[in-house]
Symmetry: C2
Subunit: 375 residues, 2 copies
């Protein structure tokens, strides 16, 4: 195990942020949101839904999860899927089954951001009334970053919960050769008092395909804990890992307890696929079937909210003050790097690669929408 | 990464079960339960509570989690803690705060099994009424195996949820040197139709101390993903790992995404410690403060129960039919090895080491309770 490299959780430190920013252009987050919303409106989305979707994508850029921001996904599939009809811009979203604390939703092929936001709002309404609220969503599409929805609970002093199954089966069950799971993320957001919120947002695979792309571009080997080759042997060659499409569940090896990441990935599959009634992603090439699961616990129904916030602040400070192990600069808490990125990017703009700027301009030309984000 | 060793999840195959059974004596599970309940009654526990506690411990032996069965914990701390008063045999268990779907419990130092069973039953009652039910429990004691309580939901066609913080801070935050977390397990149980239930039960550390003990006894090295030495460097020496008390979160290394196991461990801490209002385990040597979190989702409120069971059976069969990767014999689903052990041990008895038999006999002599489990 390499411990010589100083590690942080994100690009929030000078040493890692600087090369990351090289050649990038800072763009104002609000202006970017308005522009992306206009691209969605052009594709027949109602204005409010277009704005919800744009805010969801740009939030990923603001907190530093570029993998889920405009760079990859906007031109990668959100706009193409609207153009081709894979995403329904005016879906007939509805509740098909409910109880005081739960609802099951039919998304009718809606843009994931739209149905996910609506289902999470409904879950929080139920939590306000009966202490907790839950939503299983079926027949949806890619919903962006899982923490978009868990974070919605923070302002309401609730604990937010968000899961989604994946679009493509690219992850192998522990000990197996055939990909049968998506990257199936889990996100939980918990408000603190004065400290930044705790925001967990983890894929149940060790790494995402985007990260393998990055290593390949930089000519680096990948750790053997990320994926198998076509014969089912852990590989360090990013090209081979991409060709094989056999990502490993997190833990990455029997020694790292990858069967636990596998179990969590199947749990996500169950909450999203079984409870929605829409089932599971199966063989590569089958029709897209994305399902989600959301929830909220109202904290003050368990413990006075001020006591909760005091305990959270104490815990976060205690964890952050942990003596770093050799090779580490500091100990973080989930949500801290996102919070640091958010401060930076709200003040200074979102750094975008010139190729991303060109892509955005290109859609403006194609749709006849004036581009005004950069000179 | 070693893939040469054929792996299964548990001792349910001949090749691993046989050495495990060597020298052990099979004891009837019901008789063992009655005997353990008598030991608890002798320590001033009401008969019903003694039986609940005995059943919880013996369930661990039945499903093959010896680490949480009679061998280690009964003489290790349950009986000593009753004798010393650390556990309150007649605790004033009560709800201190509630809403239709949630309750917060004061355990008054109760035996963990007793308060946990009561809180989980209450959560299921709430789920019956409003679709989901939750319980945060404070001021409890060790509650045994996490899946005891998630499994309670299976017979009621609910999804069960169980978490506990640890007794002792033995796990380091990702990148840190000071142990600040317990092994903080998460368990989720989901009923299937004809297939064995899905039962996830994972510590958020890579390995438990008991497993390090086993490696030490057998003179084997441990993987460097399990724990740090006293200087904070990953160690392969079981004696050093035990002396240092710096277990790693699962993932085991940056390459295996150990920051994700860390995030999950903190989540468990929050649900148990913050929502109960009792806070977090702190420095070694501080007073015992164990807190739990339970829940249940009523499946039929999301999706007709028969549709759910059909989907679950299909999914479990599909996952089990995955082609094994080189070095693996078969692909499992969480709960499968426990189910296989349960069939074996309900029919043939629980295998106990002669030293464990001696311990059980010893308590019988000490308390004046006739021992009748073996000749």
């Amino acid at each position: 195990m390499a411990v010589s490299e100083a590690r942080t959780f994100g690009p929030a430190e000078g040493s890692t942020l600087e090369p990351y920013l090289k050649g990038k252009i800072r763009v104002n987050g609000d202006a970017l949101t308005d522009y992306v919303a206009a691209l969605f409106r052009h594709n027949n989305m109602p204005a409010a839904d277009a704005m919800i979707s744009a805010k969801g994508i740009v939030l990923a850029d603001l907190v530093g999860h570029e993998s889920h921001g405009v760079s990859n996904n906007l031109g990668g599939f959100y706009l193409p899927d609207l153009e081709s009809g894979v995403v329904n811009p005016r879906a007939n979203i509805r509740i098909t089954r409910e109880s005081p604390s739960t609802a099951t939703w039919e998304a009718d092929g809606a843009m994931g951001f739209v149905i996910a936001t609506r289902a999470m709002e409904d879950a929080m309404e139920r939590a306000d009334k009966v202490g907790s609220g839950w939503a299983a969503v079926g027949n949806s599409r890619h919903y962006g970053m899982a923490q978009i929805y868990s974070r919605m609970a923070l302002a309401r002093d609730m604990i937010g919960f968000s899961m989604t199954n994946g679009v493509t089966p690219g992850v192998v069950p522990f000990g197996g050769l055939d990909p049968k799971l998506g990257t199936n993320p889990i996100s939980v957001a918990v408000p603190c008092g004065e400290e930044p919120p705790f925001v967990l947002d983890i894929a149940t695979s060790t790494a995402a395909f985007g990260k393998i792309d990055n290593y390949q571009r930089e000519g680096k080997s990948i750790p053997p804990t990320w994926g198998l080759d076509r014969n089912g042997i852990p590989t360090t060659d990013p090209a081979e890992a991409k060709a094989a499409v056999k990502l490993l569940t997190f833990g990455g090896s029997p020694e790292g307890a990858a069967h636990k990441g596998y179990g969590l990935g199947v749990w996500v599959d169950i909450m999203c696929g079984a409870l929605s009634g829409w089932g599971f992603i199966g063989k590569p090439g089958e029709e897209e079937n994305v399902n989600h699961f959301f929830g909220a616990w109202k904290i003050d129904n368990f413990v006075p909210i001020q006591r909760h916030k005091q305990l959270m602040d104490e815990r976060v400070r205690d964890l952050r003050s942990t003596t770093p192990a050799p090779g580490y600069k500091r100990v973080m808490v989930a949500g801290q790097p996102e919070w640091e990125n958010l401060q930076d990017r709200q003040a200074n703009g979102i750094p975008l690669h010139p190729r991303v700027i060109e892509m955005l301009k290109g859609y403006g030309v194609k749709y006849g929408i004036p581009y005004d984000l950069t000179d």
